[in-house]
């Protein structure tokens, strides 16, 4: 049972790390905590579900494209102008919560069902240390890991990645040397929303996704990001795996009702002891 819970926890952490990476990318680049990305991810997962009848790939591409456009538009027309006017973290908290409400409402109005489940290929079963688990779960875990490495690699070896780093480290200097920071911010927001969408798709395939799942993804993703050191993608990944294990073990030992209570209690405790999270740094990426 212990090993089973541990493996389940690591896989759950892997899936959860996708919205966490989304939050980390957006915060690391723009300094904005976007509380809407979970609801945007779920909205796009509903979009994928709608287009699933045209084929799995078409559905996923439509979801990816929608999340990209939404992330780009929100950042370009709303969040960056607010940031330039001197908006503080409280203002962004309120604005992004309101955007989240709008997307929850749009999901309710535009789609006929309040909850969906996506039928992705099951990919058989895999046996790890005597524990049998679905191939899709393993795929989700390795997908999250790959995304993390891809972000890191592109940040170091591509021009756009270098402009990301420059923007996150020194905004004024980045502007001075001619980097289109508004474009960089919009890209970061788009990538964050696409990562959140990926998390929502895996969640919908492994469990199911409802209207309010967006908020669960946001809050879970957010606390995990905070524990890891918000903006720090390595910290986010490590924290996601740890928190996945905490949720899995507490669920096994104390029952489902206490699962989230224990998780939040530990998170609050970590923040009290180490206010900047496990790996620290506010805006590192």
């Amino acid at each position: 049972m212990n090993l089973d819970a541990g493996i389940t926890g690591i896989i759950m952490g892997g899936v959860l790390s996708l919205p966490v990476l989304g939050i980390a990318v957006i915060y690391g680049m723009t300094g904005i905590t976007n509380f809407a990305i979970g609801t945007i991810g779920v909205f796009c997962a509903f979009m994928t579900w709608t287009f699933f009848s045209y084929g799995t790939v078409v559905g996923i591409l439509v979801g990816l494209a929608t999340s990209f456009v939404i992330g780009y538009v929100i950042q370009w027309f709303l969040l960056t102008p607010l940031s330039e006017k001197g908006g503080d973290s409280t203002l962004f908290f309120i604005v992004t919560i309101c955007i989240g409400l709008v997307f929850t409402g749009l999901t309710r109005v535009l789609f006929p069902r309040p909850n969906i489940s996506l039928l992705l290929p099951r990919m058989g079963t895999v046996r790890i240390l005597g524990v049998t688990t679905s191939g899709l779960k393993i795929f989700a875990f390795f997908f999250a890991l790959s995304v993390l490495f891809l972000i890191r690699l592109s940040e170091k070896h591509t021009n756009i990645g270098k402009s990301w780093r420059a923007t996150s480290q020194n905004l004024k200097l980045a502007k001075t040397v001619g980097i289109d920071t508004q474009h960089v911010f919009a890209w970061a927001s788009s990538i964050g929303c696409m990562l959140s969408f990926s998390g929502a798709v895996f969640w919908a395939a492994l469990y199911n996704v409802s209207l309010m799942s967006g908020w669960d993804l946001t809050f879970l993703g957010f606390i995990i990001a905070v524990v890891g050191g918000i903006g720090n993608i390595w910290g986010g990944m490590l924290s996601a795996l740890l928190m996945g294990m905490v949720m899995s073990y507490s669920g096994h030992i104390l029952g489902g009702m206490w699962q989230s209570v224990v998780l939040y209690f530990i998170v609050i405790l970590v923040l009290i002891i180490s206010p900047r999270g496990i790996l620290g740094s506010e805006r590192s990426l």
Binding site: I99, I268, L271
Partner: protein, 322 residues
């Protein structure tokens, strides 16, 4: 207008619903409900915007007041008044404890700890279902058994006026001015020898007490409390009250509470679109009227007044020329 007149005007506006005491009905009930959240809105106005403490746990302190009163009175058979006071004291103690335990954190992280507590608290209530009733909640008669609906409504309005008057008075005292100084420049306040830690602790204690007492009144007025009533969105909406209404003006939270808690009531026929309209309206207010509705309204009144004066002046001018 002088600040004193604005405060007096705010208090006078707050006592207007006393006219509805004899008229028991839906309007009275809704106004009582809005007033219960207005108390919380003024707590947010005081703690978040007057003393600059990034606190998001208003639903927690409110819930502590409500549940403590209901449980101590309903299960442990404490006298009602003692139960209500205990609710306030427990909420105040928890708010101060939260401040003490998070004193190492600053700004964003400090606000997030209280926000996480606001997310966790309804889950804790669900987990403690045998005592709290969880999502099914607990019914509580309390003052509803002793007082008429009109009397209870008067109590809510009176308590809100008292709480707001107290906060206005507090902000005009030496302690209040110290709060303002700390809010504007913490380092400067420390440099001139002010024990900022003590004052911040006091601010949390006062805010927790008023919020907890407000929660105790909530459970007495509504007669029911569940984990759904004190979810994370409750704390979010309470924070919206001064932001939407205007945090820099003393009557801002009144306008904020009217919009945040009356708008959903008006939108009942369009329930499916509620989230879209609600979120859209707030984003529009924040973008178009950054200081909130109250300063925008003041600017509008001043502009209208100037136009009126100019028009009268233009009308009088030809006569004087004659």
């Amino acid at each position: 207008m002088n600040d004193h007149y604005k405060k007096l005007g705010t208090l006078l506006a707050l006592i207007l619903p006393f006219a509805l005491i004899g008229k028991v009905g839906y309007a009275q009930w809704v106004i009582g409900y809005v007033y219960l959240f207005l108390i919380q809105g003024y707590v947010a106005w005081f703690l978040f915007f007057r003393t600059n403490q990034p606190f998001f746990g208003y639903s927690v302190t409110m819930a502590l007041g409500a549940y403590s009163t209901a449980i101590l009175t309903g299960i442990y058979e404490w006298p009602l008044v003692l139960g209500i006071l205990a609710g306030g004291v427990i909420a105040s103690a928890v708010a101060m404890l939260l401040f003490l335990s998070t004193s190492r954190a600053r700004g964003f992280y400090l606000s997030m700890i209280s926000f996480l507590l606001a997310i966790m608290f309804p889950m804790l209530i669900d987990a403690l279902r045998p005592i709290t009733g969880g999502r099914n909640g607990i019914y509580f008669r309390g003052l509803r058994d002793m007082w008429s609906r009109g009397g209870l409504f008067a109590l809510i309005v009176g308590s809100t006026v008292l709480a707001v008057a107290f906060l206005f008075w507090l902000m005009s005292t030496k302690t209040g001015k110290t709060f303002t100084l700390i809010a504007e420049n913490d380092d400067l306040a420390q440099a001139v020898g002010i024990n900022t830690f003590k004052y911040k602790l006091l601010a949390y204690g006062i805010a927790g007490l008023i919020s907890g007492l407000g929660g105790a009144l909530y459970v007495n007025y509504i007669g029911f409390i569940s984990s759904i009533d004190v979810g994370v969105f409750t704390t979010t909406y309470i924070t919206f009250i001064p932001i939407v209404g205007g945090s820099q003006l003393c009557y801002g939270p009144i306008l904020g509470a009217l919009i945040v808690f009356l708008l959903p009531d008006l939108l009942v026929p369009m329930e499916r679109f509620m989230d879209i309209i609600f979120g859209g309206v707030f984003v529009a207010i924040i973008l178009l009227i950054p200081g909130g509705i109250a300063p925008g309204l003041e600017r509008l009144v001043k502009w209208a007044y100037k136009r009126l004066v100019r028009r009268r002046h233009d009308c009088i001018k030809p006569e004087t020329q004659l």
